[in-house]
């Protein structure tokens, strides 16, 4: 039940605020207006995803036949899972038969043969087949399947080989503010804003006010339920900063993935891999003598087994632990997004069978159900990533208070200290 204490407190906070708003005291009005606004933003985020889906459904139905819509849904979902150079919200076919894409562009920053080139991604006109050529600084760029390529001198259009790899273009170093980078920047700024204001409050008072009252129990929860029991009373303080950062970073980005803007940051394997590598570096660097001793020369097992165990332990520590961390987060979030988008697509796919109202009702019910589960998964995955990071760090820094004697079978022999400890 400890797991849900954060939610419980969050819920209580809003309940208390709304109750306060009902009594029209002046001070309460000021705070409650603020919190009701926040609540409103949350609710809007929750509901707009379905509104957006509704819009695109109605519009997509008009022009194309059913089969092409189905193909488009698949492409749309696959496109969503990848990182891209612009935000793509809605596309539809207008009366003149043209495809219209609604979204907003992001800056493209490239380091190619002629130095740094920057332009807005709107210059590609939502093309991702390498048809539109953007000429800047004497370089010509095309966007092929979400990646920007630089055409070689003399080439007039992108040529592909049999396996659809470009042959007359090279990849420049892409430093663009893509959708994921934009999401990470927003999450970073939000965290900086939330927690610097929370930290500032403690200089004046012991109990924070306003939104700080939501954040404080979460911070304490991570400290007391994740860091302290897993790392140990003596050393947890050094690592609590990292664990808090990683927890809120993942949680905020997971929640941002559920807004209609189509962020899929924690569903990018590069992002989760970077987070897992941070954890790896921390527990490799801070690992003590006992930790490495148990990896390379496991005490208490026969000598012949020790080299085999060393290989297994080394692979487990350096590869399997971070790999399982990164794949778990990546796969959970990607799977959630695929399921949610597929359920929204029911609206379009089953319209012919169930009618517009039936298909919309079915899709709305199912997607709302999965959406609520995804809200829980967003928290749970942040919790699990932090928990396992703390566990791995804790294993690396654990201190064995005293040496144990081992009997002939390699079992630890309890000494007087253990017996006293168990007795108490």
């Amino acid at each position: 039940m400890h797991l849900f204490r954060g939610f419980y407190l969050l819920f209580h906070y809003f309940c208390a605020r709304i109750r306060q708003a009902l009594f029209f005291s002046k001070e309460a009005m000021k705070i409650s207006n603020y919190s009701i606004k926040f609540f409103g933003v949350l609710l809007t985020c929750l509901l707009t995803i379905n509104v957006f889906a509704n819009e695109s459904t109605v519009q997509e139905q008009q022009g194309d036949e059913r089969i092409s819509t189905k193909v488009e849904i698949e492409e749309y979902i696959l496109h969503h899972l990848k990182d891209s150079h612009d935000f793509h919200l809605v596309s539809y076919t207008n009366d003149a038969g043209e495809r219209v894409h609604v979204g907003f562009p992001l800056p493209v920053i490239l380091y190619g043969n002629n130095g740094i080139t920057t332009f807005m991604s709107s210059e590609f006109h939502h093309d991702s087949d390498g048809k539109v050529i953007v000429e800047k600084n004497g370089n010509r760029f095309v966007n092929y399947h979400g990646k920007v390529y630089e055409l070689e001198a003399g080439a007039t259009e992108l040529a592909l080989d049999a396996e659809h790899h470009p042959v007359n273009a090279s990849k420049p170093l892409d430093l663009s503010i893509t959708k994921s980078v934009f999401g990470i920047l927003i999450a970073g700024l939000l965290m900086l804003w939330f927690f610097s204001s929370l930290a500032r409050q403690y200089k004046k008072r012991n109990i924070p006010k306003g939104f700080g009252r939501v954040l404080e129990p979460l911070v304490i929860y991570v400290r007391d339920e994740i860091a302290r029991p897993n790392i140990g009373e003596k050393k947890y303080k050094k690592f609590t900063g990292y664990l808090l950062t990683v927890f809120f970073f993942i949680w905020i980005l997971n929640l941002m993935g559920l807004t209609p803007f189509g962020f899929n940051v924690t569903g990018q394997i590069a992002v989760t891999a970077a987070l897992a590598v941070f954890t790896l570096i921390i527990y490799v660097v801070s690992g003590n003598k006992d930790f490495w001793g148990h990896i390379f020369w496991m005490p208490g097992v026969p000598i012949l087994i020790r080299p085999i165990l060393a290989i297994i332990e080394l692979v487990g520590t350096l590869i399997i632990k971070p790999f399982s961390l990164l794949v778990r987060l990546f796969a959970n979030i990607s799977a959630g997004h695929i399921i949610l988008m597929s359920l929204i697509a029911i609206m379009i796919n089953l319209k012919a069978d169930l009618g517009p109202i039936g298909s919309t009702a079915l899709s709305f019910g199912l997607s709302l159900f999965i959406f609520v589960i995804e809200l829980l998964v967003a928290f749970l995955q942040a919790y699990i990533f932090t928990m396992l990071s703390a566990l791995f760090i804790g294993m690396a820094v654990a201190e064995h208070d005293h040496e144990h004697e081992h009997d002939a079978h390699g079992n630890e022999v309890a000494d007087a200290e253990d017996i006293r400890e168990n007795f108490i």
């Binding site: 039940m1 400890h2 797991l3 794949v327 778990r328 796969a331």
Partner: protein, 66 residues
């Protein structure tokens, strides 16, 4: 496509195994909580950690078998 079949079958077998494992973890945790309700918090934390490790294995299999 034919070359994918062993990967997919292997991933399927691992997912069956992981499902069995998750069922056992959940069932054992339920029994443990029923026997000792005051230890529910500790049991739940341990259950979630083991379930997460197992889930990582299953997702790893799905990811590599894709």
């Amino acid at each position: 496509m034919e070359t994918m079949i062993p990967n997919l079958v292997g991933a399927g077998i691992i997912v069956i195994g992981a499902g069995y494992g998750l069922g056992k973890i959940g069932g054992s945790a339920m029994e443990a909580i029923a026997r000792q309700p005051e230890a529910a918090n500790k049991i739940q934390t341990a259950m979630i950690i083991i379930a997460a490790l197992l889930e990582g294995l299953a997702f790893g299999a799905l990811f590599l078998g894709k």
